[in-house]
Symmetry: C2
Subunit: 725 residues, 2 copies
Amino acid sequence: MTRVSTLPVVVFSLFFATVAAADEGMWMPQQIPALGDELKELGLQLDPASFADLTGFPMGAIVEINGCSATFVSPEGLIVTNHHCVHGALQYNSTPERDLINDGFLAKSRSDEPQATPTQRVYVTTNIDDVTAKVVGGAKKGIGDTARANAIDAKKKALVKACESADGIRCEVSTFFGGELFLLLTQMEIRDVRLVYAPALGVGNFGDEDDNWMWPRHTGDFGFLRAYVSPDGRSADYSKDNVPYKPAHWLKVSTRDIDPGDLTLLAGYPGWTSRLVSADEVRAAQEWWLPTENRFRRGLLAILREEGKRGRDVEIANATRVSSLENYLKKYEGVLEAFHRDGLLDRKLEDEKHVAELVASKPELAKRYEAAAKEYASLLATERATRDRDLVVRYLSTSSPMLSQASVLYKLSIERAKKRDAEREEGYQERDWAQRMNGVKRTQRTIERASDRAGLRFALLEATKLPKGQRIEAIDVALAKTGKAAPEEQVESLLDALYSGTMIDQQDVRLAMFDEPTAALVNRGDAMIGLAAELHPLVRRIEDQALANRGARYRLRPVMIEALRTAKNGRLAPDANGTLRVGFGQVKGYEPRDGVIYLPQTTIEGVLRKDTGSRPFDSPARLLELARAKRFGTYADPELGTLPVAYVTTNNVTNGSSGSSAINAWGEVCGLAFDMNWEGIAADWVVNEKYVRTVIVDSRYMLWVMDAVDGAHELLREMGVEPQF
Amino acid sequence: MTRVSTLPVVVFSLFFATVAAADEGMWMPQQIPALGDELKELGLQLDPASFADLTGFPMGAIVEINGCSATFVSPEGLIVTNHHCVHGALQYNSTPERDLINDGFLAKSRSDEPQATPTQRVYVTTNIDDVTAKVVGGAKKGIGDTARANAIDAKKKALVKACESADGIRCEVSTFFGGELFLLLTQMEIRDVRLVYAPALGVGNFGDEDDNWMWPRHTGDFGFLRAYVSPDGRSADYSKDNVPYKPAHWLKVSTRDIDPGDLTLLAGYPGWTSRLVSADEVRAAQEWWLPTENRFRRGLLAILREEGKRGRDVEIANATRVSSLENYLKKYEGVLEAFHRDGLLDRKLEDEKHVAELVASKPELAKRYEAAAKEYASLLATERATRDRDLVVRYLSTSSPMLSQASVLYKLSIERAKKRDAEREEGYQERDWAQRMNGVKRTQRTIERASDRAGLRFALLEATKLPKGQRIEAIDVALAKTGKAAPEEQVESLLDALYSGTMIDQQDVRLAMFDEPTAALVNRGDAMIGLAAELHPLVRRIEDQALANRGARYRLRPVMIEALRTAKNGRLAPDANGTLRVGFGQVKGYEPRDGVIYLPQTTIEGVLRKDTGSRPFDSPARLLELARAKRFGTYADPELGTLPVAYVTTNNVTNGSSGSSAINAWGEVCGLAFDMNWEGIAADWVVNEKYVRTVIVDSRYMLWVMDAVDGAHELLREMGVEPQF
């Protein structure tokens, strides 16, 4: 059961606060009761305290699936999430004859529900324990920062190991507020997950990349899975004998009207934000990190696109990398633009000044804060001193899947040689080996020799341009050895040697390397392994420095957070870290730029207007027909006078929030979050309430598509909704 | 003086009408009095009848300048128009040391006002005469269509010649309602026009192509000229002795508040619309003309862009053609999109059905209408039968400035040989020769041999793909003569012969050809002249057919227009034809797509937000400084609480409307029209009131820039506005 009582007093006692904007945080469920007054004012009909009980209503219905959030919506383990979160399942179950991605899928009956994918999981958070004392207790005051980080890591590993003793249980120690708080999270891991229903791609992905991050939006981004367990209710591998999981709680899908101003709670597993970082870190992102890494992305992207012109097979091999680079580039170009446009650094600097001023009245805290902030600034300066080099080292792997594989295999051989599993680095422990093996296999599809070489050329040329004091010695030595003079010729010559001397692009070779001791691996004389081995001491040094910095952060960040919280009258949500969170906000449009107003809701008229009959604006014929005939049943919106499709709220989300249920004042699912808006794209760093919105598909649109377009009547009945079509 | 009394009764008596949308027409000034009730209802404070008096207030202040509309705004001949309409004058007066385009220009005093350009003119319409009886009277019933067209053309030419007897007078017979009405327009031509003031490019062209056709907009698109005449008040060539022209009327520039719903009249010289064409013609545009010509534009554009990569000189030579192709392609792609998106053909078909139904109750008209419509349909079928060929013939010239020059020079030699000037084709008469000579010189800049050849290759290849029955015999013969088999080889071989055998790319050669008789010209043996001569019989035939079709249209269109007007209860504006018009509308935003509202007004906040410090969003530093300091004087808008920049109204415009004054209810200039909106881009064919808007720069923004940013205080005083900065 949930033991919230062990959470530190500071978290609970300090946010009675002045009433602030409702929309700045992704709160820990345990923080919600203290925000009760605000929520009541916004219209909440449930007891705010109920959100702190993770196994009660409504939080017991909120689950995590691979990389997404989801919700139980029937007593029979039915799970609703985004269409893009069931994309893998549709792909896995497609055949040359049955294109489920394009056509959608509706299981005729329970027995017709296929396994989603072998690796699809559903995680139900069942317990949260405050283990701060245990974790930090091992790290005595005055020990060095590296020792501190190691001590904390060891404690975390031990706690996870002890917690994971039973089958079907996954545990994790998560860090909150920069190390002020450590929570041990226990989750039930459901391993038999099946595909139930998804609309056609022309609904679920209507608009695709054209509309990605955009509002107004017209995407029916929803899909359904079902959790199965053994007949005795325990987590089990996929089996015909398994039965639907009976969750203790599930949420009703709402058919209520939604209007501007209505309260929406978002419950899910947001991945990562950096809102509590210092202004110095925002400045570094704006001035160096975003522009530099975007330049790297653009460079690599241009190379891979050019290589792709050689043939469709090359294009396919590079497709995943290209699409990932495109995605990040678009996002981070938008973020950089927003930083400048909205003056986010100035905002952050103002905030920091404000904190210092407010804290000044508490001499003891002020003293600690000043000292921590000063030491933190010098820690950042240390990181800055080698940041160009460190980024190039990272891009040596990013640019070359072959070198990346060599590095992983080399490191694995070293970690494996360690006697005790606990000494091995995270990601290289026994529990990770199967996953690593899968990675070695999976990478095969994305390895294309000539593209790999072209990519590595790019990264090596960047290495040749590094400033003094940040040189990569292993690369300098290797280039000098070629005997050439000009950097371009040196790089070409080194590439000749590397690619004529490696077979690491072959899967069987890599699999053979997988278990080899370091000496045997090196003795193969594979040139790419050789480069990885040469680079390894530097990689190690960078990791060691990162470990020490982490140890320092564990000391310094909590002090800075304490000051920040004090300045905010105790009302402070931790940065997202992949754990269960609840945010709240209201349905609300915005003014994206001078002279333009974005309404808070979109309608089916917009689908008709956007539809071109071809991707990505290709609605199913039946949807168009019903829409043109205005056959909306009771799903139409009374005020809009037509069928609603999506809406935006002042909630905020990040990667991992996809599929989060929007929960209305009565605890019903009134929509599913599936995107953030372009104007609010910098929200991972700074939330500008004027622009930051979450894009949500309206539950009434989902129900109408299920009912009228796809005839998913049995599912509707299972969810307690009477079909109308 | 204006003689409106001679206008046909039909125009004046038939539009008492039911109150219809205020925004569908560009009315003849003479039609305005009959629309008085509507205008009064919209708030007009002036006597509606005053608009019919072209030499009275306010129409006496409205003038035409080269390709744009403009307005007298002081008793000293000061003229306001768009910045993009004085661009040529800024270019002409720029030197390597003084970049007026970029920096803007403000004459320190009267004597500091330079000649705008030698060809800059100001035309003041002084008289309109209904000459329908005279023009049509010469064309007896029952004569053939060619004869009819010739008779009408001859009458028009004679009337113009008689009218233009005095110096400084320009006359024109314009066709209204497809030939139902012919008006002889008399204009005073002012030949000494000077540059007075223009803001910096970062104001006058803020947003440039990025914002072209777009709303919301933040461009200060205004500039000032001054008309000069001889000391005795007559039109005269540029001379130091000339004095400012004293217009009988000028308009006050308004400092009044503008709010949504306010009445705006637009007075200017819109160029060309096709709103009264038949549904069949709209269908042909949608199904054939727009897609086909856009394909040609895309093809030619790709070629010229590719050629431009050879060097900056090539790029410069092709720049005008590239930018024109881009402009038209963007526009007509938008038009085609709007046709489909808004179902404009269906709308037109509905309209036509409606006309037929309403006319049915008037048997005599119904009979004539049916017969005319039927014959018109068969005329369109005739045109359809050769449209592919005719378009390729046109593109042979469009794709090759060298062939185009050859064709003009060849035709000139033939027309010049005719004994009587009146027999010569329009554009090849004595009055046109000087202009033709200028054209021959001016073209030199845009001739680039290799690009010319690449363009002509494109058009010739299109010719080889023409269907049977639409072949261009001269091309077929020339290609067959090459002795090659494949079309591509034939074209290449023909091009070899053409470009090795022509010197027409040399200006002195063309100037020598200019006066040559046809035989001498042909005897030169220039290959390009040879091809032009071979093509000439077909060009002639196409022109003859067009002449016959025009004759038929003169018979048929007036009947169809009569039916249309009857269906519209007499309320019908003629299509734009470059003559003085008045439209009216209201300040009003719109919903461009589902979930988005465009407000009717933009503000200086939008300038600050769009400004990037570099083209095309590079406001002058002083503007930014004043804007950030919110120093707006009394120019701020009370409701908006800040400085207004631009607004949209339900008026509609087309090419040539640029610079039209927006006139408020009191007859003051409250803004200048400078663009139409993207969503209403198909308005030349069909006006969809939901989307069609005119983009207007607010007079208060203009005055603020003049006053606060550029210190044009003397000008303001001349206009009766007291400076505040």
